[in-house]
């Protein structure tokens, strides 16, 4: 029985990690800028498509015709060589194989730029406008982003292979004293979980230990006072928006081997991540992380056949149900500050 429970727990981790990463950025943007960003799911989706784009670029091929040889059906032999392989030799092959993790390198600058452009171009004009209008404009932006992706990459999901060496499963059970092959867990999911732990740790460390982070936290607590100190909080908040976009983008990149991305990936995750933020408490970073994992794991348990036999359909609604109950009973969420968005 313990094995079963432990396995469900593990199964919830990677989804929870994705929820936590998206919700982290969402709640960061709300806490710093006071903006309800319905385009945040789109940033996750754009990150995923950075990986797609990178791989498509890596797998561009040159076709050379070797007149001295012929193919089995008599035509001159075409030799297809990926460009990177032609340029970098074996390293090129490794690059293609590890395209997903490597694409993080291009995702960071791209998402930073997208985030900053979005904030400077549009979002900043909405700081003082009502939440409803923020929702509307970011919802519109989300539609634009997903339609642009659809028109470039088409409507179908584009599978991203994980690196060949990382395809197996980790025998986690044997590490902690169970028999071999009782509790196994796909290696990439484990990597995703560790990756998210590093990112989350990094964001917290950044906010905790740098001057920049200190100012931002002070700004989250009391924007006006910080402004009175003569600190240019606006520019720092712009960078925070960029950072949130980068975190969402990286979360999207690494998720691609688990779920082939399509253009409406962002909208699919948006609602869930909002629910996560609300459950954790609007503007609370630890709340977002805790709620992300909590809901991921809850969802995993709810989809057990034993549970579904008792409460049919619970796996379909568990997350929303938790959100509704939290909102009605404790609107500031699990870890939200008293008085913030409690009405």
């Amino acid at each position: 029985m313990f094995e079963v429970i432990f396995l469900q727990f593990l199964n919830g981790l990677d989804k929870g990690a994705a929820y936590a990463l998206i919700a982290l950025g969402l709640t960061l943007v709300f806490g710093t800028l006071g903006v309800v960003n319905f385009a945040h799911g789109a940033l996750f989706m754009l990150g995923a498509f950075c990986a797609v784009m990178f791989r498509q670029f890596l797998t561009l091929e040159t076709v050379t015709i070797d007149p001295t040889q012929t193919s089995p059906w008599g035509a001159p032999l075409e030799i297809r060589t990926p460009l990177v392989q032609a340029w970098f030799g074996d390293f090129g092959a490794v690059l293609v194989n590890y395209s997903v993790p490597f694409s993080i390198l291009i995702t960071i600058p791209i998402m930073l730029l997208v985030g900053i452009a979005l904030e400077r171009g549009i979002i900043k004009h909405f700081y003082k406008r009502p939440h409803a209008e923020q929702i509307l404009v970011t919802f519109g932006l989300a539609i634009v982003a997903q339609e642009v992706i659809k028109s470039v990459f088409g409507p179908n999901p584009i599978p991203q292979p994980m690196p060949t060496d990382l395809r197996g499963a980790a025998d986690i059970g044997s590490w902690i004293g169970f028999q071999a092959n009782v509790i196994t867990y796909p290696l990439w999911r484990l990597i995703y979980f560790l990756f998210s732990a590093i990112i989350i740790g990094g964001v917290f460390a950044f906010l905790q230990f740098t001057t920049f982070g200190m100012v931002v936290r002070a700004g989250m607590a009391d924007r006006e006072t910080v402004g009175l100190l003569g600190i240019n909080i606006d520019r720092r908040f712009t960078i925070m928006f960029g950072l949130a976009a980068v975190v969402a983008g990286m979360a999207g990149v690494m998720y691609t081997p688990l779920l082939p991305p399509n253009y409406h990936l962002g909208m699919d995750f948006l609602v869930l991540s909002f629910v996560v933020v609300v459950v954790g408490g609007m503007g609370s970073l630890p709340g977002a992380v805790a709620a992300g994992f909590l809901l991921g794991i809850l969802q995993s348990f709810a989809s057990m056949t034993q549970i579904k036999a008792i409460v049919p359909g619970i796996d379909q609604i568990i997350i929303y149900l938790v959100a509704v109950v939290i909102l009605l009973v404790r609107p500031r969420g699990l870890m939200g500050r008293r008085g913030v968005m409690e009405s």
Binding site: V36, I122, H125, H131, A132, E133, I135, L136, V137, F139, G140, L141, A142, I143, V144, E147, V148, K150, S151, P155, M267, V271, F274, V275, V278, M282, P312, G313, Q316, I317, Y320, L321, A323, V324, L327, L328, P331, M341, S343
Partner: protein, 379 residues
Amino acid sequence: MTNFMSRNDLLLLLGFTAVVLTMPIWLTPFGAGYPDLLQRFMIYGIFAVGFNILFGLTGYLSFGHAAFFGVGSYAAVWSFKLLTLDAIPAMIFAVLISGLFALVIGFLSLRRSGIYFSILTLAFAQMSYNLAYSVLTPITNGETGLQLTLSDPRVLDAAIGQTYVGQPVPTLLGQQLGGYAGFYFCAGFLILSFFFAQRVAGSPFGMMLKSIKSNQTRMQFTGFNTRPYALSAFVISGMYAGLAGALLAVTDPLAGAERMQWTASGEVVLMTILGGVGTLVGPVIGAWIIKYFENILSALNDNILTQFWGFLPEGLADVVVKVTSKFVGDGWHLTLGLVFVVIVIFLPGGIMEGVRRIAAAARRSGPPGAKSRQQQPAE
């Protein structure tokens, strides 16, 4: 008469009625004079008018109204299956069920306001959508969608000995509701809906809704319990959504869960904002424009574009065709998204505000006599 309806309201209603009933004539030159599209104009017009009562008047942004639309559709199809193919019982049944549904969801969601209200409605709608696809399959028929079959019981029809051959089609007093008959049936309901919305907006009740949007605190300290007002608005708009959903089932008796998805709720938000939130006519115009361009733009293809841009030099024409093709056909949602963003940023009052601004500009540059009649509000 003034006790019931002002002269201006009456004129507006008559004008609206005339415009709607003559649509098959004046929309033909625009390529939209066919019943299928006209029916959708009516249906989504009703949806938007009702949504505006909640969002436009009361100020609550719901992202879950597609759920009531979907419930209306299912309820109507069940009425066709179990009771009779006549449309009137189906409409009544659908409006009642969706009203009940809205009462429960509204009661819970309205315990919060602002963004929390939006997220609550979103969560309830997603729950309904997910359940419709999974455990509620006996009621919704899951992914296939609920449809009519010859073997449905239809107890009322059976009681009067009515039998059918071929594919069952909804009727009104024996008259089949396809084509233009379907359009006029829907048009009647749109006009009725519009009239009722006018009544709401022009009554003391409507003024209370507007005051809730304007200043909820003052409302409470003025002696009003705001909760039942907001809940009434929520239920009324939910019933409108149910009515629209039922009409969609009348014109095309198949109900699927996809019309309950939250992005479908987003669409009615787009319609209302595009046309002019808080105005009576705006949401209807928004619905018409979106449904019109959805049909027209999505039907455009590269061949048509090449013809259209044919007057340009060859190289340039190719480029222009390539660029514009991204915004039409399947890409028309991109156009919609862009227009929407531009509207929210620059023209939050939508098309109606645009019209007002143009009218004001025209008046200012008009004859001096018109100018002096304008009241200049002092700052």
